[in-house]
């Protein structure tokens, strides 16, 4: 293995919207040597295979497809003098920012001055959902479906059942229909769709029955799927199909963090950060969907850009130190909060919150026993709720709790 190379100012792990926007911003702020490490053959992250709009609205003021958006990001990065090293897989995050990297030329270690982790998110597979039954081919996530269609020109099935009604589920319906795949049903465990109106009407408009309060409890068939068993309000129902598309239930792709000394937040399932996106080892920063499941590409883009500014400040010795952090913890109904730490001095404007299940009530932030913020909310899971961080910073304290009293 080579000796750590020390001439890189910032190494960014992952070339999705968060990673590339961070690189662009760092360059704009005059940071010299930025290297993006990307394990795929092509840079661009998930949008590479989301072949539908709307991407790019926030960033470029126009609506574009995922691949066009990804290409645009990569082009801008190249123009800005950002080096993107594809087929570079980061294997380990070592203390002090040393990165262990697999490359086709051999294993190397890098020691950039700062590291940004922008490794994105993926969907929960069949196994972790503990679905019963046989284990045939054709049970996949949306990410894989998109890769079949848009990266390889293939189809994994023709008559799938689609599980979930998140945005990504609708994107899957769109992809299916655009390629001659005819979903036989959409299955949603809750009483209503997760995606907002009017997008939630999309399957219905296409004549695909949506079964609410329902769950795929077993998969049958070998070597291919032949049917699923769906449990709803009434009797169990067997639905013939040749595949099962498991959509959403996102998880940060944070295995690098899990394998390192960095603190992982078991609630958000990404690295625990302060309001500057700084991890427990202050050389590491993180942005994008690795922080939490899950946000849009536009959000990740802006988040990458914002956190890049803090990284630039830090390189210039202008960022508030990591000392004196207050912790922000989850109370009733709250699934996670990001950031999880607040240090004195500026940074992100908002605390991001998600709830576990649909809930109505009063959202409160407590410092000790004092209620320092409250408002009425009606919240659904997978939808972001924002609380101004200023309220917490102004009050001060070493521990804040966010809860919903229903």
């Amino acid at each position: 293995m080579c000796r750590p190379m020390a001439d890189i100012d910032v190494a960014i792990i992952g070339s999705g919207p968060a990673g590339i926007s961070a690189a662009l911003e760092l360059r704009r702020l005059g940071v010299r040597k930025i290297v993006i490490l990307e394990r795929e053959r092509e840079a661009g992250g998930v949008p590479r295979h989301c072949a539908h709009p709307p991407y790019g609205f926030w960033e470029f003021g126009r609506i574009m497809t995922g691949p066009a958006y990804a290409r645009r990001l990569v082009r801008l990065a190249a123009q800005a003098g950002v080096e993107i090293r594809t087929l570079n897989t980061v294997l380990d995050l070592l203390p002090g920012g040393v990165l262990d990297v697999a490359t086709p030329q051999g294993r190397v270690q890098l020691q950039p001055r700062r590291v940004m982790i922008t490794t994105g998110a993926r969907e929960t597979p069949r196994s972790a959902r503990l679905i019963s039954g046989e284990r045939p081919a054709g049970v996949i996530n949306t990410g894989a479906l998109q890769a079949y269609i848009h990266l390889h020109g293939m189809l994994p099935f023709r008559r799938p059942v689609i599980v979930g009604t998140e945005l990504v589920s609708l994107s899957a319906v769109y992809d299916c229909r655009a390629h001659g795949v005819r979903p036989v049903a959409v299955i949603e465990q809750n009483s209503r769709a997760t995606a907002r109106w009017p997008l939630n009407l999309f399957p219905k408009l296409l004549g695909i029955p949506t079964l609410y309060h329902s769950e795929v409890v077993a998969i049958a068939g070998m070597p291919r799927v032949t049917s699923v068993l769906v449990r709803g309000a009434g009797a169990d129902q067997k639905i013939a199909c040749d595949g099962v598309l498991l959509t959403g239930k996102f998880l940060p792709e944070a295995s690098l963090v899990r394998g390192s000394d960095l603190v992982l937040d078991p609630a958000a399932q990404g690295p625990a950060i302060d309001q500057f996106g700084r991890c427990s080892d202050p050389v590491y920063f993180a942005a994008g969907n690795v922080l939490r499941p899950v946000e849009t590409a536009g959000w990740c883009f802006r988040e990458g850009r914002r956190i890049a500014r803090y990284v630039a400040d830090d390189l210039a010795g202008r960022l508030a130190g990591p000392q004196g952090a207050a912790e922000i913890v989850c109370g009733d109904h709250v699934k996670f909060v990001v950031p999880q730490r607040l240090v004195p001095g500026g940074g992100a404007k908002h605390l991001e919150i998600r709830v576990r299940a649909a809930v109505q009530g009063r959202l409160r932030v407590l410092a000790g026993t004092n209620i320092i913020f409250e408002k009425n909310i009606s919240a659904l899971p997978e939808r972001r709720i924002l609380v101004p961080l200023r309220v917490l910073a102004e009050h001060g304290g070493d521990r804040f709790k966010v809860e919903i009293k229903s």
Binding site: R39, R41, L87, T89, L91, A102, P104, Q105, G106, R107, R122, E123, P125, R126, S127, A128, L130, I131, S132, G133, E134, R135, A137, I140, N141, G143, A144, L145, A147, Y148, L151, H152, M154, L155, P156, F157, R158, H179, G180, V217, A218, M222, P223, R224, D242, L251, E253, S255, R258, G259, P266
Partner: protein
């Protein structure tokens, strides 16, 4: 050589079934100079009972004293450790602790040590609660004491039998996959075997058909001498983040019926909990059931509370070829040149090499031992164990195809070529681990579909409608 020639040739030995037992038997007879053919009905070998097990190399400390099973396990255990380096096959010397969680179990520990010593496993000893906690920092404080079995190890459950078969093939054996034995006729000297692909001619037949051992026995002799009663075992595999939580295999104090639920590291760097023991009649459907999986997870978290925060990577189930009796059903019908290695229920991965020896000894009671090969070829298996230098550490691998398990393009291509190429996704996974990691194919499934185009019995993709 084409399959066509195989049907015209005469073999000394026809092995029916490419499970771990059939692979070990084919290897043994090949190395002893016999002309061997192995017949497997599935697209690939290791598609039956050998597809999903706990991957523990057992010492036999708790096997029935004096049994054939114990003898085969111990012979298999020693031979594996003797030959594994030549194959490049890994072993992780974890040791095992039989842990007691209540007073009743605590009382049984003395008996377990006694039985182990009787079985010749001399290093088995009592271990105190304090020693267990010192050795395994994350184990629940509810443990009361245990028995330490230093010789229980974990191995690669697929590369091991693949290695046996590869060696047989490299030294002249032949294999027919997607070929089912349908019936057999013994003409007093030789067997004429009818298969789904044509007629085979062999002097001696060895039935290693696992979950279909009785069916093949019936097809060969007209009446099966035992009855397979499949016993399902479900498993949950935890994320590699769990590996640092446990070093030793944690065994339960056995009951009359089963070895019970085991929590064990795997050679691939995961943690595994299982198996259940559920009788069923179906011989091929190994389904997982949410309720059972949830119970396994709960059990695992009881033993190792820190597992509560660890994600599930995979779930699977295997079927044990149990019979109406607990013991191995091995017999030699010398009048008919027929050997049956049936009912290899729950220790076949360990026992396979020993079973192969035992079968050969039976054979040699009535046949001249052949001239052993002087200088057999030893194929070297791919390095898949977590603690070894994997393929990606050597330049020239092309690209990494499966990110979670760091499987390279070079590894996938190798598994799709050579004398025993993977013929389905299961076979590819067993040979490379592609798609077996935490994302379960989110990132690589489509890429694998493209790389395996035209290589699999059933393609991964479907033709489009238009």
């Amino acid at each position: 050589m084409s399959e066509h020639c195989i049907f015209g040739e005469k073999f000394d030995i026809a092995v029916i079934g490419g499970g771990v037992v059939g692979c070990a038997v084919a290897r043994r007879f090949t190395l002893s100079g016999a002309k061997v053919v192995l017949v497997e009905k599935a697209a690939d070998i290791l598609a039956g009972a050998s597809k999903g097990n706990s991957a523990i190399l057992h010492t036999g400390f708790d096997a029935p004293p004096g049994s054939v099973e114990l003898r085969c396990m111990q012979a298999g255990y020693s031979e594996f450790l003797e030959i594994r380096e030549r194959f490049g096959l890994p072993v992780q010397r974890t040791g095992a602790i039989v842990a007691a969680w209540d007073d009743e179990q605590l009382e049984k520990l003395g008996g377990i040590v006694g039985k182990a010593h009787k079985n010749g496993v001399a290093d088995v000893e009592r271990i105190s609660r304090a020693d267990i906690l010192a050795r395994e920092g994350e184990i629940s404080g509810a443990v009361l004491g245990g028995v330490l079995v230093p010789g229980e190890f974990i191995i690669d459950p697929w590369s091991t039998p693949l290695g046996f078969m590869q060696q047989a093939l490299a030294n002249g054996a032949r294999i027919l996959r997607e070929t089912e034995l349908l019936s057999g006729r013994f003409d007093g000297g030789d067997w004429r075997l009818t298969t789904s692909k044509g007629e085979l001619h062999a002097r001696t037949v060895i039935n290693c058909a696992g979950l279909f051992g009785d069916v093949v026995d019936q097809r060969m002799t007209g009446a099966a001498q035992f009855e397979i009663r499949p016993r399902k075992g479900q498993f949950v595999v935890f994320d590699k983040a769990a590996a640092k939580l446990l070093n030793t295999i944690i065994l339960p104090v056995p009951t009359e019926r089963t070895k019970g639920i085991v929590l064990t590291p795997t050679i691939f760097g995961n943690l595994l909990v299982g198996p259940t023991a559920e009788e069923q009649t179906d011989r091929s459907k190994a389904t997982v059931e949410r309720e059972a999986l949830e119970q396994l997870i709960a059990k695992a978290c009881e033993i190792l509370p820190a597992l509560a925060d660890v994600a599930v990577t995979a779930t699977y189930a295997g079927l044990r070829p149990a019979t109406e009796r607990p013991e191995y059903r091995i017999r030699y019908d010398s009048e008919k040149n027929l050997i049956v290695a049936g009912g290899i229920r729950s220790t076949g991965l360990t026992g396979a090499l020993g079973i192969a020896r035992h079968v050969e000894e039976l054979y040699e009671t009535n046949n001249e031992p052949g001239p052993r090969l002087n200088d057999p070829v030893w194929p070297v298996m791919p390095k898949l164990a977590e603690r070894e230098a994997r393929d990606w550490t050597r330049p020239g691998y092309g690209r990494i195809v499966c990110h979670c398990e760091l499987v390279t393009q070079r590894e996938v291509e190798a598994a799709l070529s050579g004398p025993l190429p993977a013929r389905d996704l299961g076979g590819l996974k067993r040979r490379t681990r592609a798609g077996m990691g935490r994302c379960q194919g989110f990132y690589c499934n489509a890429e694998l579909a493209e790389m395996t185009r035209g290589r699999f019995a059933e393609p991964m993709d479907v033709p489009s409608d238009g």
